[in-house]
């Protein structure tokens, strides 16, 4: 039961209900599509990057609470970070959701996602937006598919 409460923390339910930066972006410098083959959900991530600084970021698409909250938290976390910092955070975050371990200081609000690792079927939900982000930053045109 505690595992479950960890997974669906109030913050997550809240971000699901009211996802932040949940819209398209006209002047995006980078964008990419993401697809979770397990469920068929699709998202799109937009970035506005200047001098390696992520000045704006947004997303749209369908997804479960875990995916929406993860995307939403990603946007609020990354605005104002450099692309290098984003890439580093991606790795920290990946460790967090697959093992439950990570440095809460670096991760900040992302730490609420730690409960996911107890639910392997949902790890892809939590990582989808991040994979898509990475593709966007690398200017990859292919759809990111969660591995």
């Amino acid at each position: 039961m505690d595992d479950f409460r960890d997974l669906y923390q109030q913050v997550i339910l809240d971000h699901n209900q009211n996802p932040r930066h949940f819209h398209s972006m006209d002047n995006a410098t980078h964008e990419a599509d993401g697809h979770n083959p397990l469920c068929g959900d699709q998202i799109k991530v937009y970035l506005f990057v200047e001098d390696n600084l992520i000045k704006d970021i947004s997303f749209e698409g369908s997804g479960c609470a875990i995916s929406k909250a993860s995307s939403s938290l990603m946007t609020t976390t990354l605005i104002g970070k450099t692309t290098d910092e984003a890439t580093k955070l991606f790795e920290e975050y990946q460790t967090l959701i697959t093992t439950g371990k990570g440095d809460t200081k670096t991760l900040g609000k992302l730490a609420v996602m730690s409960g996911v690792h107890k639910f392997p079927a949902r790890v892809k939900c939590a990582i989808l937006s991040w994979h898509t982000l990475k593709n966007a930053l690398n200017n990859k045109n292919e759809t990111a598919i969660t591995e």
Partner: protein, 404 residues
């Protein structure tokens, strides 16, 4: 009705997330009765040997048991000739067998393969692969909003070009039972070969291949109380005899020289390698179990649960049920407003309830309906109305959490 059945299924008295298990995912795979589990164990304990070629008693017995199941299967689906029963590893392999051994040989550029928009991936992808190899085209009979086939204009789909028609008997998404007899008649009128994907129908009702008149019928053991890893392809003997082999190896040959080989008689021509012996024995036990209950009662029980569930679920506001065919099986797909199916399934799981969320291996129809996924509850002979009550209660609880 169907009393005391649950005691036969050891897993049904176990727990899921420390709650009594409510298993509503039988359309994916069913639980197994003691009788089937024991038949497999006792084969390994007292009869295990390779079949068909052993000159010792153990092997003779194993061969006899194995071949007797072929007879029960033939009987179970209403054909007199066991030679028309090929053991495969499942519906997927059964359909691929026809695609490779009939399709790739007989289809030519511009020939048409006709399926429906509500097929399972296992009745789509093999044909997409076949079209690549043969130049044939793949066409789809469309479906209507209510989850039934649009057969208003058969001439549009059944034409001189139509060479193979493969249809899902009962949809694993909507439960729709398709008018396969009618479709087979259309197909015959244009001279096409017919395949019925009966993965969801054979477990639930009396199916008679002679009445249906299909050329092939495919189904899986694991969806009808039998072990995983075993399936059946029924084929008309005349067609099987004319077909080229699929897998090459032992058992399927009559003789082999370095230059070439000649084929064994059917059905062995299509059973290359050491057979799935224990799984076949398990399938035999499953059929015996189903026969003992009687398929009419199995079907009636499913229909009772279905009706009860349809009413119960309809009473939940903000819940949408997909498909409302009048002729349907014990499977319901639905969604709850503002709750993603995977979240709903995760919350149900927390209450011990196992349902499926996703595209149910039927993406084309999901796309057409503008959905990426649904939640699916499916019922079998061991389910009860109380379990449906538990499902509804848990759905309402979840809905409330998500709408705060």
């Amino acid at each position: 009705m169907l009393k005391n059945i649950r005691n036969d299924f050891p897993l049904l008295s176990s727990t899921n997330r420390a709650k009594p298990l409510v298993y509503l995912d039988s359309a994916a795979t069913t639980q197994k009765p003691r009788q089937v589990i024991d038949a497999v164990s006792s084969f390994y304990e007292s009869n295990n040997a390779n079949v068909h070629r052993g000159i010792y008693q153990l092997s003779e017995q194993a061969t006899k048991s194995y071949e007797n199941v072929r007879k029960s299967v033939a009987d179970f689906i209403g054909t007199a000739d066991p030679r028309s029963i090929i053991f495969t590893s499942g519906t997927t392999e059964s359909i691929n067998l026809v695609a490779y051994a009939w399709g790739r040989k007989n289809l030519k550029p511009r020939d048409e393969i006709l399926i429906t928009e509500m097929e399972h991936h296992s009745n789509i992808v093999p044909w997409q692969l076949t079209t690549r190899e043969t130049g044939a085209n793949l066409r789809y009979i469309p479906i209507l909003k209510n989850g039934t086939l649009d057969l208003s204009d058969p001439e549009k789909y059944f034409t001189k070009k139509t060479k193979l028609v493969s249809i899902i008997h009962q949809s694993n998404v909507f439960g729709t039972i398709n008018p396969v007899k009618q479709i087979i008649d259309y197909a015959k009128s244009v001279g096409a070969i017919t395949i019925v994907d009966a993965a969801q129908s054979v477990p639930h009702a009396n199916i008679n291949v002679e009445e249906l008149g299909c050329d092939f019928l495919a189904f899986s053991g694991h969806k009808m109380l039998a072990p995983t890893g075993i399936g059946v392809l029924y084929g008309k003997t005349k067609i099987l005899e004319e077909m080229i082999p699929f897998l090459g190896g032992g058992e399927m040959i009559s003789s082999v020289s370095m230059e070439s080989a000649t084929w064994n008689e059917i059905p062995y021509k299509f059973e290359a390698g050491t057979p799935k012996i224990a799984q076949v024995i398990g399938l035999g036990a499953a059929i015996e179990y189903l026969n003992k209950i009687g398929m009419d009662d199995v079907q009636k029980h499913g229909q009772d649960l279905l009706k009860y569930a349809l009413i119960s679920l309809s009473n939940i506001p903000e819940l949408t049920i997909y498909g409302d065919s009048t002729n349907r099986g014990a499977v319901i797909s639905f969604n709850v407003d503002n709750v993603h199916p995977h979240d709903l399934a995760q919350f149900l799981d927390q209450d011990g309830i196992a349902v499926r969320a996703g595209h149910h291996c039927a993406q084309p129809i999901m796309t057409k309906l503008g959905l990426s996924s649904t939640t699916r509850a499916s019922f079998y002979l061991y389910n009860t109305k109380k379990e449906i009550d538990a499902l509804c209660e848990s759905i309402v609880k979840t809905k409330n959490i998500f709408s705060i």
